[in-house]
Every structure is written in structure tokens, then in C-alpha cells.
Symmetry: C2
Subunit: 334 residues, 2 copies
């Protein structure tokens, strides 16, 4: 009664109540263990009465895999990350793994989060946040557990990456807008361009320039709807605003579309064509029909998982997997 508060019952508690040995209890809950039906029933009855659940921790301490995977995300206000987390969790649970979730403000806080997480002996870490600084990469590497990060440019021993082909996406966006007759271009960045985003921009700008067009006007938003609004207002302060805009993500593109239509009375797509990135659900809503790039979350998640579970052959080697984002054209560019 003194410290029994909130105590999980142990296999010995069950054994005592059932009048059997602790081994018998263990065997009852171990598949393919040799035990008679009579004994098993006695154990199950006692277990039910006490609310007993097997304890995974001793096994982990003996050296078995913990079957916990840490997943690090940077906030779910963006439906894209919500979908990544959703898919990842589903896929891991289907394999009998548990997900230890860690939310982190930016990749600078990543290594501190890892310190907490590794106390629980997770088998691996999947980060929806890109690893962008050498410092972080090195610290992750030091923990000597497999880390897979999305959209990272940096890798290190133990630290692998799943990347979209961002430059190719940028070029495709340029080609599409050119084909639709656009002449003056804009790009809306996030607050601090990640390397992945920078590649996207470079691919976009270079292709435009290579085809004899001016470099795109640039503005920054903070990755959400309001940021898209602010950025589009900024672009519209120019003497001659763009007639085609590529946004670093969909939320900003949606903010841009609404502000153009309802605040600046500009028609989309007639006067301005817009492309987003991520292909979140809202892109397909009747009011928007936003052209976007689908990062193919399923393939990326599958890649991340195989990178974790195929470690046997990989050791501490670092691997980079690249997937091609798929352009989904809708009426915002027609």
C-alpha cells in the first residue's frame, strides 16, 4: 500500500496467486512455449484478475530489440507532416513496432531530443525534419543508432537520408509555367530556405534563365496560410507583378490564391498561375484546384523503413535514397 501506487503486477504476483511457478506465467504468454492447457488456464485466470500484462523492459535489457522507433516531427500544423506521421505510424505498427513521438522546434533542437529519446533504447530514429548542419549530423552520428532523415543534404555514419529530387521538380515547374504562356515569375520561400527548398528554387530559376527569361521575383512566408498572404502582398507591391508563382509549400500557395482573388481581385489562373508543393488534400478542393508536386509519402516511408530494417547488411554505412516527386496538374495552371 505504501509504494504500490500505480504498480503493474508482475509475473511473480500472478504465479503466487495461481499457485504456480513464475516460469509457468512466462510460458503462458510466450508463443510456442511448452505448457499444458490446465496450467495455462489457471495462469490466465489469475492474470485476468490482477490485470497482468507482460513487461517488455527486462527483455530489452537482456539485449533484445526494443521494437520502439523514435519519430521526430516539427509540428503538425502542416497537413503534409501529419500525413507523414500518419503513414509512418501505420506502417511501423503493422510490423509490431511502437512509435516514440518527439516534437521539436527546429533541427537545432534535434540532438537534444535524441538525448532524451535514446534513454529509452529506441532501435532507430526517423526524422521528418531535415538534418541541415554538420554539427547536428555529427551529434546524431555519435549516438550510433540508425537515423533516417527526410530531405536531408547531409549524411554521416549511421545517418541516412530520403530525398525528393528537388531540382528536377523546380525544372518541371518552370517548364509547365512556360508552356502555359507565363512570362514573369515569382517564388515564395519559407522563412529560412532549407537546402531542399534551395535546390527547388535553383532548379526553377536556372531553367527559367536558361530559356531566356528573367530570374523570378522572391518573397518569404513562414510556411503557413498567413505567410503566403504576406508574401503575395509583398510581390504585388512591384510595378509589374508576376503572372506565375511557384510556392515552397501548398499552405502558402493557398494563402496566395485567396489573397489574390479576394483581396487583390486578381483572377487565378487567368491572370496568375500558381504551383504549390506537397499535394495536401486541400489542393483537390473545388475552390482551389491547386497544381502541386506529390512527394509520394508512401514510397518515402517505405524507403525509410527498409533503411531501418535492412541495417543488418548496412552496418553504420550511410545511404541516400532519392524519389521523384510527381507533378499533379490542376486548374490553377490552366
Amino acid at each position: 500500500m505504501t509504494k504500490s501506487r500505480n504498480r503493474y503486477p508482475t509475473s511473480s504476483d500472478v504465479a503466487r496467486l495461481a499457485g504456480v511457478s513464475q516460469s509457468a506465467v512466462s510460458r503462458t504468454f510466450t508463443r510456442d512455449a511448452s505448457i499444458s492447457t490446465a496450467l495455462r488456464e489457471k495462469v490466465l485466470t489469475a492474470a485476468r484478475e490482477l490485470g497482468y500484462r507482460p513487461n517488455a523492459l527486462p527483455g530489452i535489457m537482456q539485449g533484445q530489440r526494443s521494437r520502439m522507433i523514435a519519430v521526430v516531427v516539427g509540428g503538425m500544423y502542416n497537413p503534409f507532416y501529419a500525413r507523414v506521421l500518419d503513414t509512418l505510424t501505420d506502417e511501423l505498427q503493422a510490423r509490431g513496432e511502437q512509435v516514440l513521438l518527439s516534437r521539436v522546434e527546429s533541427d537545432h533542437a534535434l540532438d537534444e531530443a535524441i538525448d532524451q529519446i535514446t534513454r529509452y533504447r529506441v532501435d532507430a530514429v526517423v526524422s521528418a525534419l531535415a538534418v541541415t548542419t554538420e554539427e547536428t549530423a555529427r551529434k546524431l552520428s555519435a549516438s550510433r543508432i540508425p537515423v533516417v532523415a527526410f530531405n536531408s543534404t547531409l549524411t554521416a555514419p549511421w545517418v541516412s537520408a530520403i530525398n525528393s529530387d528537388n531540382a528536377a521538380a523546380g525544372r518541371q515547374a518552370a517548364d509547365l509555367l512556360l508552356a502555359r504562356g507565363a512570362r514573369r515569375f515569382g517564388f515564395i520561400h519559407g522563412p529560412l530556405s532549407s537546402p531542399a527548398e534551395q535546390e527547388r528554387f535553383d532548379g526553377f530559376a536556372r531553367r527559367l534563365v536558361a530559356c531566356g527569361n528573367p530570374a523570378p521575383a522572391e518573397a518569404r512566408g513562414d510556411y503557413d496560410y498567413g505567410g503566403g498572404q504576406a508574401a503575395i502582398r509583398e510581390l504585388w507591391r512591384a510595378a509589374i507583378p508576376p503572372d506565375a508563382i511557384f510556392c515552397a509549400n501548398d499552405l502558402m500557395a493557398l494563402g496566395a490564391i485567396d489573397t489574390l482573388r479576394h483581396e487583390l481581385s486578381v483572377s487565378v489562373p487567368r491572370s496568375v498561375r500558381i504551383i504549390g508543393y506537397d499535394n495536401i488534400d486541400s489542393c483537390d478542393w473545388l475552390g482551389y484546384q491547386l497544381t502541386s508536386f506529390d512527394q509520394d509519402v508512401n514510397t518515402m516511408v517505405e524507403g525509410a523503413i527498409s533503411l531501418i530494417f535492412d541495417r543488418e547488411g548496412l552496418g553504420e554505412k550511410s545511404v541516400t535514397v532519392t524519389v521523384s516527386p510527381k507533378l499533379v496538374e490542376r486548374s490553377s495552371t490552366r
Copy 2:
């Protein structure tokens, strides 16, 4: 080399390398432990070299709190759940707790998920899914750990609930629509009305009838945008369609608005007024301006957390906390 694959280094490994006792390593990583600076430095150097992190599992086995809280969600396609998870994770991490995430199809799978989760000795469970069947409540109760479920009608020993005042919200929705001059009403349900949703509907319908109006027409969608579309088409097959609709959540309301405007050429709010539920970010977008009920996620999360951490005084008692959803009127009802 044989089974050392992926092995975390132990405090003894560090001790051996540093030429000190295992206790010294432990003390180095324990705050306020008595240890000389010289020894601590030696230990830290060795620890850094091996990538050592303290192991939380033995302590848990000794009876300390695990500082892991399981969070159960039903999928994050709905931004409302994403926000709940986001807030909950933030708040728990701020208290030094870890989040063990479990995704579950429906509350029928809840007890099975609990079986997996409790193997890891979590201190408590927070479920964004409502507990709706006696069966589930009983099974949760049997595990004897604190469970807090959102929007549950059922409770049991150890199983508490954080509820919105759904009936009140329903009545408020009715009052607002009546005040705005609506005369014919509709309600869009989820696929199988949860008890919480049923209360909402009952509050809405009763108030309407009490004020001398006909009962609302009903349709079902599956809680997402497409479901809202299907439901609104169904309602529009009637000879005289409604001029005011209350939806069980925002995603369906948005699908309904878009379908009315772009497919059925009906003006919102001039011809039809619409109210949603949850007050997700999209409600505030310029293209929608959807009137909705804010469930005040912060307060609900705060309530859930205090219900967990104030257990000392509560024991296995079950508690129900009710919060009032706040009506946020926007132009979809003007």
C-alpha cells in the same frame, strides 16, 4: 562483434574505459550527486568517446515512473486531431514526459492497442478517441492505469473523460441559425454517429422543434471533405432543400460549401447558411469564412494532463471534466 550489433554502451563500458567504478559513471549523470570534478571529467571523456547515454529502463524496473505517456489517436487526416496531438505532445514534453504514439482504426481496437502499449509500462494513456462501449471501458479499466479519453460518455474505474458540452453547442447552433432567419434545417452526421455527435444533434434538433420548426433533414458523410460533398448532394435531392446546415465537423462543412457553390450553383451564405465543428485553420481562410465551434484544445489538453498528474489524490476514481465549446461566427452564417 557477434551480437554487439547495435548495442548501446553501458555505464560499465564507460567505467572500464575511464578506469573508474560504475558508480562513478552513474553519479556523473545524476544531478546533485557527490563527485569530484576530476573524476567527472574523466568519465565524460570516456562517455563521449563511446557515445554513452544513460539507460532509463533499469530505473523503471525498480519502480520509478517511466515518464512515458501513451497517446492514442484515430488518424490525422482531420486537422483537428493533428492539433490535439501537437498540443498534447508539446505539453507533455515540456514536463519531461515522452509520448508513445498509437494509431488505431476505431475504439474497438483500443483495448488491443492498450495490450501492446502497457508492455512498455507507460504511466498513463490519453485517448483522442472516445470510449463508447461498455466492453472497451471495462477492458481499459482492467489494466489499472489512468486513462483519459476525449468526448467519452462512458467512464469506469481509472477511466476519466474530458467532454465538450455538445448539447449546448447544438442549441447554440440552432439559435444562431434561427436568428439569421433560416427556416429549413439540415444536419450532416459522421458515418456512425458517436454519442458525442448524437448529443450535438439532439441539442440542435430539440431546440429547433421547441421553437416550432420542423426537425432537420439528415444525411451522412464519412468525416472528410468528400463525405461532405456526398451528403450535400443527397440533401439536395429533396423537393425543398434546407437553407441552413449544421455539420458534425469542419471538413464535411467545407466539402458542402464547395459543392453548393461550384456544383449546385447555390450561394453561401445568401441562400444557405453553414456551421461546422472544430474550428480548424481552414475555417478562417478567405474563401470559406466558416462559422464553427472551437473546442478549445488547449483547455482540453490541460484538463487531460492535470487528470493524469493529479492521480495521487484521485486513486482509481473516475472524473469527468466538461468544457464549453465557443461559437466563432464568420460570414458563412451572415
